[in-house]
């Protein structure tokens, strides 16, 4: 568990704090996304965890211990670190790059070699093909994967990731995000993830900390709750006018409780894949100019009816901020 306790940071020679009275907890095995506009102190907050930046006041506790209890280098070797610009060592092979922290920790050569191959497999790079290559030979997306593998190398319980998928094209980014969600399902790390992109935050986060300028925590909650009950105008404008749709994009059709067909005529109704998000299903309905669709279960037994009313019921409470007056 990572715990921020009244953390403040003001850079020397500056009047304005970049982080103010920041207090929150990141539970074990959760991804906590720090998100906010530029200048909101999200990267500074993350870098204070592994003491690349020291707070002006306040404490950061890791499993109950202040992170100042051990030397900076010892602390950092126990926390995975992946950044947008990746920062691979261009003069070292992919295997050597990934092996950086295991070598600092004096792992046995065999163990390190095994771990490197295991990680290359995990991030979807064929070990035999990639381990002895140099970073310059890899595409941007492949380098990002190596960056993540390198951060995971010594199996640290905590990972810090600063826009780790920021430097690639949108299609590759989506794929890397999906892959990372899958990987996290296996490794269950405690992750602090920085991004400026609210959609990425909603997609990746178990919890989201929305920061506003000056490093003030505007809201800290699950993506669902932030979308349903934004705590302030700042939060609702930051998450965007489409927050109802964003919330629907967190839900899958197959998880909805839907009525069986009960003899309803299905002629002409669109067939909706149960694996779609509710947002995509809504888009299908609108595209088909109907208010109802037929959901085919994955295993093929039972068909159910998806209605616009059911979708509206889901988004209830997340309606637009004000209502029109006559």
């Amino acid at each position: 568990m990572i715990e921020f306790r009244d953390v403040n940071k003001t850079y020397p020679g500056s009047q304005r704090p970049v982080v103010q009275d920041l207090s929150f907890e990141v539970l074990d095995g959760e991804i906590c996304v720090l998100v906010g506009p530029s200048g909101c102190g999200k990267t500074t907050s993350m870098r204070m965890i592994n003491r690349l930046i020291e707070p002006s006041s306040g404490d950061i506790l890791i499993d109950g211990e202040p992170n100042t209890a051990m030397s900076q280098t010892k602390l950092r070797r126990r926390i995975g670190y992946a950044i947008q610009q990746i920062g691979l060592f261009p003069h070292r092979t992919i295997a050597d790059n990934i092996a950086t922290v295991p070598r600092l920790l004096d792992w046995q050569k065999d163990r390190t070699r095994q771990r490197v191959d295991e990680l290359l497999d995990l991030v979807g790079l064929e070990p035999a093909q990639y381990r002895s290559r140099y970073p310059a030979e890899l595409s941007g997306g492949q380098q990002q994967r190596v960056g993540v593998a390198r951060a995971l190398a010594a199996d640290p319980p905590i990972m810090l990731m600063d826009e780790p998928f920021g430097a690639v094209d949108p299609i590759t980014r989506t794929r890397l995000q999906d892959e990372f969600i899958r990987i996290q399902g296996e490794i269950k790390k405690t992750i602090v993830f920085v991004t400026h992109d609210i959609d990425e935050a909603i997609k990746m986060g178990d919890k989201i900390a929305i920061l506003k300028e000056g490093g003030i925590l505007a809201q800290y909650d699950t993506p669902e709750n932030i979308l349903t009950n934004p705590a302030s105008d700042f939060v609702s404008s930051f998450v965007g006018a489409d927050r109802v749709l964003k919330r629907l994009s967190l839900l899958l059709v197959r998880d909805m409780e839907l009525e069986p067909l009960n003899g309803t005529a299905v002629d002409g109704l669109p067939l909706i894949d149960a694996r779609l998000t509710v947002r995509d299903a809504l888009s299908e309905l609108i595209g088909a100019r109907t208010t109802r669709g037929v959901v085919e279960d994955e295993n093929g037994d039972g068909r159910r009816l998806l209605t616009l009313d059911a979708i509206e019921a889901l988004s209830g409470g997340a309606s637009a901020t004000g209502s029109a007056r006559g």
């Binding site: 690349l52 950092r76 670190y81 950044i83 920062g87 060592f89 003069h91 290559r133 140099y134 960056g147």
Partner: protein, 245 residues
């Protein structure tokens, strides 16, 4: 023969070649192969080795000074201007003047010593500047990633920064060495040894074979050194790092 007096203070092979015409009139062969073979092991080879010794020892000493100085200056930026200023002055002293001044310093005298000291002084500007430029060119994110993973400052310097700065540092070594191979010929005037000896003796003896031997060997030494260091430089560039099959 007036022109020869002019030639005495100039070591450039170009002028020596111009002077060929005079020698041809005197019906001597341009290249006396018999003289070369008779004097090769006693005079020519020792002069070449002496020249290499002067040049490489000077650059080596200069590098030992410049590496820590460059690292220091790249960390404490305020020191960069004064260091460049001082080494710039050293660099601008005419070489013959530098040798002459050093000879008068007690404990130095004539011989290779003043030559090496002056050559070291000449190399400092280029070398320190390239060490700093090389360190500056290391990507900030690479250093940030190294820090974030828990490398110590020393591990970052020796494991990341210097290896990545190496191509630029070697480029500086190349420029310094080639420059110094040329300047070292003038060391003859303070009995420094080297190929300058062969060139200037040839001129004073009015003996083209000797002049050309010295001049061409100096040129060859400079060209070959340049080529080899250039190869090393491009070999070290990370962008050239691909799987070497």
């Amino acid at each position: 023969m007036r022109p020869l007096r002019v030639a005495r203070v100039d070591s450039s092979p170009g002028l020596a070649l111009v002077l060929q015409d005079f020698y041809v009139e005197k019906e001597r062969p341009l290249i006396d192969w018999v003289w070369i073979s008779e004097n090769f092991s006693d005079d020519i080879l020792p002069a070449l080795l002496g020249h290499m010794y002067l040049s490489f020892v000077s650059v080596a000493i200069a590098l030992v000074i410049s590496l820590p100085a460059g690292v220091f200056v790249s960390r404490y930026r305020k020191a960069y201007a004064p260091v460049t200023f001082v080494t710039g002055i050293l660099y601008s002293i005419p070489s013959l003047a530098a040798f002459a001044i050093l000879v008068t310093v007690p404990g130095i005298g004539i011989g290779p010593r003043p030559v090496i000291i002056a050559l070291v002084a000449y190399s400092l500007l280029v070398l320190i500047r390239n060490v700093v430029a090389g360190l500056d060119a290391v990507p900030a994110e690479t250093i940030d990633a190294a820090r974030g993973m828990g490398l110590t400052a020393r591990q970052i310097l020796f494991g990341v920064e210097l290896p990545l700065a190496l191509p630029v540092i070697v480029a500086g070594v190349r420029i310094a060495t080639v420059t110094i191979i040329g300047i070292a010929t003038i060391g003859f005037f303070v009995a420094g040894g080297g190929l300058g000896q062969v060139i200037f003796s040839g001129i004073s003896r009015d003996f083209p074979t000797m002049i050309l031997t010295g001049a061409l060997l100096t040129t060859a030494l400079a060209v070959v050194t340049d080529f080899l260091l250039l190869r090393l430089e491009s070999f070290l560039r990370p962008s050239a790092r691909t799987k070497r099959a």
